[in-house]
């Protein structure tokens, strides 16, 4: 086995990747890699690329094959044992509904985006790293579908995720975020997704959510979550290497990259607000609050990883302080919004019970009892009196992040933030200074956004009434609204009542 002149890992890996390329002479590099320089990023020497993990395809197949065998063994067992009955309670499934309709399509988008960068970059190391991530992301989309397939058979809201993703008002938040990156060039895409999202923010998506799934008896989701995370650690590392590589290649790259980091940090943070809402409101048994998660994974760890890049001149993303100021308000405002528009969502909403309200009071001592608990208690009383509150109007969305304009100024928590700007004679509205600034930097692109309420008013979403629009979304009468009155809840009670043995098991 052992050869006399054994190459070290790095040299050997280079013969397996970088050395596969050659000097083109019949076509120019610009003809073969036409998308590599229009963004203004200057790369002088692709051979300086440092591979974050040196996995050859045979090793990749070996490890991934083993992971998949384990994963599908659990998924099979899950289906055979009616294990969907093992979760803490049926409210939990609503977190999965958001996951499948909002996150799974992003995994798919990442698959395609990394295929684009895997073809666009002129360096083999960057191509291979992108391509491996591309196929990993396909894996994530598919393992999520296969896991949640079992839930789809028994619960509402999961039946048509991709149709919903292309059309639904709140799903335009993740869709527009990802398309912002996909419609950009390869360097912006990889900065957006590998660095700003995977490296800075993804821990916050997966760690609390998957621990939450474990805590709530959803072993199938834990299974795909942690299995996917083992790929994510490769992806996060790629994010860091990409940034370092670009910064080391040319000083002119710094301001471009800093602006991308600022933009996608903020857009990613706005998107993650929905995850925060799941953590604080949708998990019957909670692992940590959004605020604790933000402190652990962004304020502490995020600051350290920006320290790593300080020597290149990279600073913390602009407006990060704003995210910290908002952390005691964010999830409560979002939950109240979705609660009010619950009739137009494909998941159920409800008011937490008293012990859950107490948990929120404890986790959010500065704001919860003062601003949010009284409103939640009032809404609960209204519901008990047969007057479940729904907002019949269409929400106004922020032009950039596309979240309804509901966020308040943390310094003045009862006052909503409204920002606006005029571009080519039209007025555009924003939820924050950060979203306004992102728009003003690229008004032509950001003004094109497909804003669902505007599209409804223009007659592009099936009609003018809410039932017309819900039909266009493929929502059924069982998908949305109050959890207490839902078919999910009725079925759950029936199943659990009928099978007390399974609960004991």
């Amino acid at each position: 086995m052992e050869q006399a002149k054994k190459m070290n890992m790095k040299e050997k890996y280079n013969t397996m990747t970088g050395d596969l390329a050659w000097d083109f002479s019949y076509k120019t590099e610009a003809e073969i890699f036409p998308l590599s320089d229009f963004e203004g990023i200057k790369i002088e020497d692709w051979s300086k690329w440092q591979d974050p993990f040196r996995l050859t395809m045979d090793a990749y197949w070996k490890y991934q094959g083993e992971k998949e065998r384990k994963l599908y063994a659990v998924i099979d067992a899950f289906g055979q044992n009616n294990a969907h009955l093992g979760v803490t309670d049926a409210r939990y499934i609503n977190a999965l509904k958001i996951f499948l309709t909002a996150v799974t399509p992003l995994e798919y988008g990442a698959h395609r985006g990394f295929a684009m960068t895997g073809r666009a970059f002129p360096g083999v190391g960057a191509q291979v790293a992108s391509q491996m991530q591309s196929i990993d992301e396909l894996r994530h989309a598919q393992t999520q579908l296969h896991t949640i397939s079992q839930y789809n058979k028994y619960f509402d809201g999961l039946h048509d995720p991709f149709h919903m993703f292309d059309r639904t008002w709140y799903l335009s938040v993740p869709k527009s975020y990802f398309e912002d990156a996909l419609s950009a060039g390869p360097f912006e895409f990889i900065t957006a997704i590998s660095f700003s999202f995977e490296y800075v923010l993804t821990n916050l998506l997966f760690m609390p959510f998957m621990s939450g799934a474990a805590y709530n008896g959803d072993m199938a989701t834990v299974n795909f979550g942690f299995s996917a995370q083992s790929d994510e650690s490769r992806h996060m590392t790629l994010g860091l290497e990409v940034i370092k590589f670009m910064l080391e290649q040319h000083p002119d790259n710094l301001p471009i990259i800093q602006r991308w980091i600022d933009k996608y940090f903020w857009r990613g943070y706005r998107l993650l607000g929905i995850v925060g809402m799941m953590m604080d409101y949708m998990l019957p048994k909670r692992v940590m609050s959004w605020k604790e998660g933000w402190e652990m994974y962004f304020e502490q760890n995020g600051k350290m990883l920006f320290d790593d890049l300080a020597r290149y001149g990279i600073t913390m993303p602009k407006f990060w302080e704003q995210s910290v100021e908002e952390k005691e308000h964010l999830t409560h405002q979002l939950w109240l919004t979705f609660y009010s528009y619950g009739h137009a969502a494909a998941f159920h909403t409800w008011i937490p019970d008293d012990s859950e309200l107490d948990w929120l009071s404890e986790k959010y001592p500065v704001t919860f009892d003062k601003y949010y608990r009284p409103r939640l208690v009032y809404l609960r009383e209204q519901e008990k009196a047969g007057k479940r509150f729904y907002n019949p109007s269409l929400p106004q969305l922020c032009q950039t992040c596309q979240i309804p304009m509901v966020y308040t100024d943390p310094k003045n928590p009862t006052k909503r933030v409204y920002r606006e700007t005029t571009y080519k004679g039209d007025k555009f509205h924003f939820c924050s200074d950060a979203c306004k600034e992102i728009f003003e930097h690229e008004p032509e692109k950001m003004s094109q956004a497909w804003l669902p309420p505007h599209q409804i008013f223009q007659g592009n979403c099936g009609g003018a009434t809410i039932p017309d629009v819900l039909k266009y979304y493929h929502f059924t009468e069982n998908d949305g609204g109050e959890f207490l009155h839902s078919r999910d809840n009725a079925n759950w009670n029936m199943w659990k009542g009928l099978t007390p043995d399974e609960e004991a098991a």
Partner: protein, 331 residues
């Protein structure tokens, strides 16, 4: 297992996702392949015009002149979703690993006759560069193709090609005890030897082909359809005829892979050609154009690799390809 009569009353509300039921026409429980594939790609309501194209969406049917009413009909007969694909490949790499270590332990490659060794270095090992180009070409199809049925299979094919390029690289390393000299010689042949230059020019041309379906025809149907029989059948036979089994053992992965690759490629061509007369005509045009060019650039290589058997082997490869395209219904 004890069947609890009560649990039988837990009836599913539906048996699969709506996008799959629409595709198959019923709500029967669907395969993992279909649930992983059908309807997953976004289709409408895109937010922003790509900065990399003035007139295309992020996902755009117009990236090829081939027209399909439903792109998801280009199903993969192997029914590969990621899990099925990677588990299959992990078994194959396990077998390949055993073959490589068998050859290595017995020093089978270092004792090759000098002329055969030279041939492998100069005519076979340079194919790692072609496989790298095949990796980029399939990545292109995966990036700009339409519908998950074809794009995911292209993505897996791209990774397969990288794997094959790396297996060939390992053969190159084993030929000289890991010094890297054989790889250097082989790369110089690819870069400068007259016999390789027409092929290198064709490879660089393919890397600038814009229509992804044309690239599918050029790379996966025609180039692979001629090159693989030539190297992994004719050349392979030649090595074993001289009493050497090591080459056959170390290229088992590629031979096995090619058999399966052909099934996928032929099925895609068959469905696309059957869709309309204009598709059929277009595929036929591409087939003819690329077959003519590729046959030409293969001549000097076949000569180097196979000597007197070159023409017979090329004819056999062409016959194989013609039989396949006829069976796929290409006029």
């Amino acid at each position: 297992m004890q069947v609890d009569i009560k649990s039988l009353s837990i009836k599913p509300l539906r048996n699969t996702f709506d996008q799959v039921a629409r595709f198959t026409g019923n709500d029967k429980s669907a395969s993992r392949y279909l649930e992983a594939t059908i309807g997953v790609q976004p289709e409408i309501n895109f937010h922003y015009q790509p900065l990399w194209s003035k007139n295309r969406s992020i996902y755009d049917k117009d990236n090829t002149v081939i027209v399909m009413n439903d792109w998801y009909r280009l199903l993969d007969p192997r029914q590969y979703y990621y899990g099925a694909w990677t588990i299959t490949r992990s078994k194959q790499q396990d077998a390949a690993e055993r073959n490589f270590s068998f050859v290595e332990k017995r020093n089978m490659l270092t004792t090759l006759p000098a002329d055969l060794r030279e041939k492998i270095i100069n005519v076979f090992v340079p194919i790692r560069h072609m496989e790298y180009a095949a990796n980029l070409n399939n990545t292109y199809m995966s990036a700009y193709g339409y519908g998950v049925s074809i794009t995911q299979a292209a993505s897996m094919c791209a990774m397969d090609r990288l794997g094959i390029a790396q297996y060939i690289t390992r053969i190159g390393l084993m030929l000289d005890g890991n010094s890297g000299d054989a790889l250097k010689t082989s790369k110089a042949a690819w870069q400068n030897n007259p016999a390789w230059q027409p092929m290198r020019q064709l490879t660089e041309n393919m890397l600038t082909t814009k229509d992804w379906f044309e690239l599918f025809v050029a790379q996966n149907l025609v180039l692979d359809g001629l090159m693989y029989p030539l190297m992994y059948q004719s050349f392979s036979d030649l090595t074993s005829a001289s009493g050497q089994t090591s080459f056959v053992m170390m290229t088992e992965f590629m031979s096995e892979w090619y058999e399966e690759h052909v099934r996928w490629v032929d099925s895609v061509i068959k469905v696309a050609a059957a869709e309309s007369e204009s598709n059929n005509v277009q595929i036929g045009k591409w087939l003819q154009k690329w077959r003519t060019e590729i046959l030409q650039v293969l001549q000097p290589l076949a000569q180097e690799a196979l000597g007197g058997a070159a023409q017979v082997s090329l004819d056999a490869a062409v016959a194989q390809l013609s039989a396949r395209t006829t069976k796929s219904g290409v006029n």
